[in-house]
Amino acid sequence: MELHMEYYLVISTIMLFAGIYGFITRRNLLAVLISIELILNSVDINFAVFNRYLFPEQMEGFFFTLFAIGVSACETAVAIAIIINIYRNIRNIQVKNLSEMKH
């Protein structure tokens, strides 16, 4: 017996909106970063599932997933480097302390 495609899509949609919610509400830069990773991973699931169930004769979706994983790894590396730099400057990584610039 095979799972229906909808189950995967429900999970990926929940992940997407959990990510958006986390991005807006989290107060720690690392938690914000994790929320973004949730969004990117939900996209990966979507691509893999669409490819496997709807268009199994081509590999476009799988390749897109591979590239998206690679790029999100780069992005995490750069983001963490910048977060470390912030830590060196102000000794914590809370979002509320990143308020030197205000209108």
Partner: protein, 473 residues
Amino acid sequence: MVYANFLLMKEEVSLVAVIVILLVYDIFGSQKSLKYFQPIACVLVGIHTLLNLSPNIEITAFGGMYHNVPMGSVMKTILNIGTLLVFMQANNWLASERTIIRRGEFYMITLATLLGMYFMISAGNFLMFFIGLETASIPMATLAAFDKYKQKSAEAGAKYILTAVFASGLSLYGISLIYGTTGTLYFEDIPAGITGSPIQLMAFVFFFVGLGFKLSLVPFHQWTPDVYEGAPTSVTAYLSVISKGSAAFVLMAILYKVFAPLVYEWQSILYWVIIATITLANLFALRQQNLKRFFAYSSISQAGYIMLGVISGTAMGMTGLVYYVLVYMLSNLAAFGVIAIVEHRSGKITIDDYNGLYCTNPRLSFVMMITLFSLAGIPPFAGFFSKFFIFAAAAQQGYYVLVFIALVNTIVSLYYYLRVVKAMFINKSEIPIESFRSDGYTRISLLACSAGILGVGVLSIVYESIGTFSFGM
């Protein structure tokens, strides 16, 4: 795989060559010879610009992944010129004590983002577009955080990378839904599969949000002022002009090409986004004191004007958009050149600090004045013509109300642009910025920008020659 395909992508190949030469030079050059890093980088980018001056014919390589149109080549040339001008202005800041050791990295990372924009412009597939987008935005965050010891700079970097990746994540979600409903990622095949079903509309909205962040259109503009203020001034100049210009071009290309069947939907979305962008950004710009923040809001509203070229959806709109980007680039780079040199010499950055600048630095004030006049759209300068063409393109399609709102906003923007001019020429100051001589490179770049602002509008050949390349996509 056919390796001869690489030869077709001559713009990308020559840019990669420039990056590799600079990398080797930065690693193996002796401390003494590294003094000449800036001139060499400028000369190499100049050669690269000249080599690719003649627009390519339409090229398709790698089975449709890479698809370049003549207008894309024109856009790349404009971006090259902008990058060259930024390089000429950057040295004052880079030669300071704390950044001199990382001087080479600035040039290489900047060129890497430029390479990403090239791929974005000539993508023929969403995978290519996505990789280009990320190549353009991830290194940009490291540039924004380049001043390692300044908290503001690190803050700007963090804000930029988090919002940029959030936006591209949303964009990707949209792309995944498009893939799910059409079964392809090639720009050429997608329109046939687009039926306007609700899920495709949702996909389009997600996708549009992603590029809207990059362009800083209004509901997605929150990061712009903070990043522009915190990043080093040369990086801000690059970010406000090159990054925005390429994103505008790509948005237009994709809306025309891929989402052509949804034209009524995206025009109605864009309609309200343009009104919100121009109006809100203008209102916020009125109350800024910091010049970099001021120009951030100004650039948001300019992005709204640029979108007027997209909404018209005609060849005239496309020509108008590219021409507008060219003029906006010259004006903004001149303004940031002046801000950068004043900030470097005196550390002053607010509008009140510019009181009485005319008495001490008449030439800089003059450059700043024609820049601001051009941004506001006052006739003899190029900004007037670019606004005229883009308004005409939108009005031709019957968007009279939209053009009227944009016109009213032009008047509002005149008020805040003139505020800076008034500070420089009329206000008196007890402690004006003392008089100084800027270095040769900055002077040449400011001169080039001023000549462009004065010349590009009057010489109709510029607009006409851009016009001959429109619509090959």
